[in-house]
Amino acid sequence: MKLIEADDVNVYYGDNHVLKDISLSIKENTVTAFIGPSGCGKSTFLRTLNRMNDYIDTFRLEGKIEIDGKNIYGKKVKVEELRQKVGMVFQKPNPFPKSIFENVAYGLKIQGSNDKDLIADRVEKSLKQAALWGEVKDILNKSALSLSGGQQQRLCIARTLAVKPSIILMDEPASALDPISTAKIEELIFELKTKYTIVIVTHNMQQAARISERTAFFYLGNLVEYDKTSEIFTNPKHKQTENYITGRFG
């Protein structure tokens, strides 16, 4: 089933036209990778999916993006509800400067939940899902900032999972991490995709090849090629895609 459907999306920052006629659709419970050289608009496009660009004054979007059949830029849409459904993990781990427990409980707290048992239960489940429970179960009250970078990133994933999103956006989630932490994150993505739809921006070709079913190649604000990952990497239709994945520019 199609979950995300972008139709002729154009994005501008002031006069800078950074996304040009992007149309693509993403199916439920798949991992989709966005690749392309820096500055080609991957992050911008990813952020249109949970409207995180709304805070940039010069940002302007034309076209339509539907999630679950609803236009997310429609007038009646509550961005807060959208973002509960479309969670996000950022490039640099950004846990709240609070305890590990509070980090994971935050989403429920802002939804107004004060059922302590439910919150504790959800915190535990989310940490388990993010493969972090074993490492932190005895230090839940310690500051999240005392964790390593890789642990912090898994905490950010747990925090997102705690509000039961259906889509998780990840913007180069492992680019600030060491290889072992990166491997753990990849493993995690592999497990999560049975239940969630994941869209991930990555600079790492091998990573895209390993974890995604579909890959979108962006270049200078255009969506050059979007296909099954195996097709993109073994049989690219466009010269630019081939040049990029073979490392001839980037």
């Binding site: 805070y55 807060e80 509800e81 973002r83 950004n94 709240f96 989403g107 802002i110 997102t160």
Partner: protein
């Protein structure tokens, strides 16, 4: 002579000028404190803190003055802190970033530099006369609140500005509203900076005399204020009153009161520095 050597020479000479300037300030301060301590420390005892003012210098105390200062501080804090922090939050987080906002911003910074006596005149006109508060504690606190509002607003904005954007994104990304993000994440992260600014502002208010003279605070108040509408005096006014008298006994009293006032301001600044250091450590995530 090549430019490298000129630069090095300039560098060294500037270093010495800097050291001299710093030492000059420190030495002057040390001499001043040493002098004051010599004159007044023997006068400070329980009686001095708990006696009403008197015509006889040996019986006079600073009870009305320090309770007046305490009242003024409390009332000023009650008025200025909520107003200043709210205004800072509004301007930084909600206000549109346009020409008007830029003008407001510049003017708030300018207001922080307006001579305090001007605030006294404003307070006299608005609070004492128009709003009929008389020369009361309330009028004094309102006037001093005006005086320190710009400082609190600027400090609040700076502290909010220093909160990294990644924290806002994290909160918005979880589906938090703007207010939830401000309340649960940004304010706690900025609290150290805000508290520092507030304490420094209050410690400035504690030392102010001119605006209070203008609104008609009295130098001689023979009773402890019971309500915000009572007349009052404060430590700096009591000091001013005593040191302008010829008798040696009153000069000693003045020095002793200065020590108390200095102790209060040093304590407040110390607390402010403590919060600033703790905050600076925390903000580096």
């Amino acid at each position: 002579m090549n430019s490298l050597r000129t630069n090095r020479l300039l560098d060294t000479s500037f270093k010495y000028v800097g050291i001299f300037a710093t030492l000059f300030g420190l030495v002057m301060l040390a001499i001043f404190i040493f002098n004051i301590l010599g004159d007044g420390i023997s006068r400070i005892d329980w009686d001095f803190l708990t006696s009403l003012p008197s015509r006889r210098s040996s019986k006079a105390g600073i009870l009305t003055a320090w309770t007046g200062t305490a009242w003024i501080m409390m009332l000023t804090a009650l008025i200025a802190i909520p107003l200043g922090i709210s205004a800072g939050i509004y301007l930084q987080e909600y206000g549109k970033k346009n020409r008007l906002a830029a003008i407001v911003e510049v003017n708030i910074s300018n207001l922080a530099g307006v001579p305090s006596i001007i605030y006294g005149l404003l307070g006299l006109e608005i609070f004492v006369r128009t709003l009929n508060m008389g020369s009361s504690l309330l009028a004094g606190a309102c006037t001093l609140s005006l005086l320190i509002l710009p400082v609190i607003i600027v400090a609040t904005r700076e502290a909010l500005k220093a909160v990294p954007n990644s924290l806002r994104e994290a909160s918005y990304g979880m589906g938090a509203t703007k207010w939830q993000t401000i309340w649960y994440q940004i304010l706690p992260a900025a609290s150290g900076g805000i508290i520092t600014g507030v304490i420094l502002a209050l410690s400035r208010a504690v030392g102010e005399t001119a605006p209070l003279i203008v609104i008609g605070a009295l130098a001689y108040v023979p009773f402890v204020a019971q309500s915000p509408l009572d007349e009052f005096t404060v430590l700096p006014m009591q000091i001013f009153n005593w040191v302008s008298r010829p008798q040696k006994g009153f000069l000693e009293n003045g020095a002793a009161a200065i020590i108390v006032l200095l102790a209060i301001t040093f304590c407040m600044n110390g607390i402010a520095i403590y919060f600033r250091n703790r905050w600076q450590k925390k903000i580096n995530w």
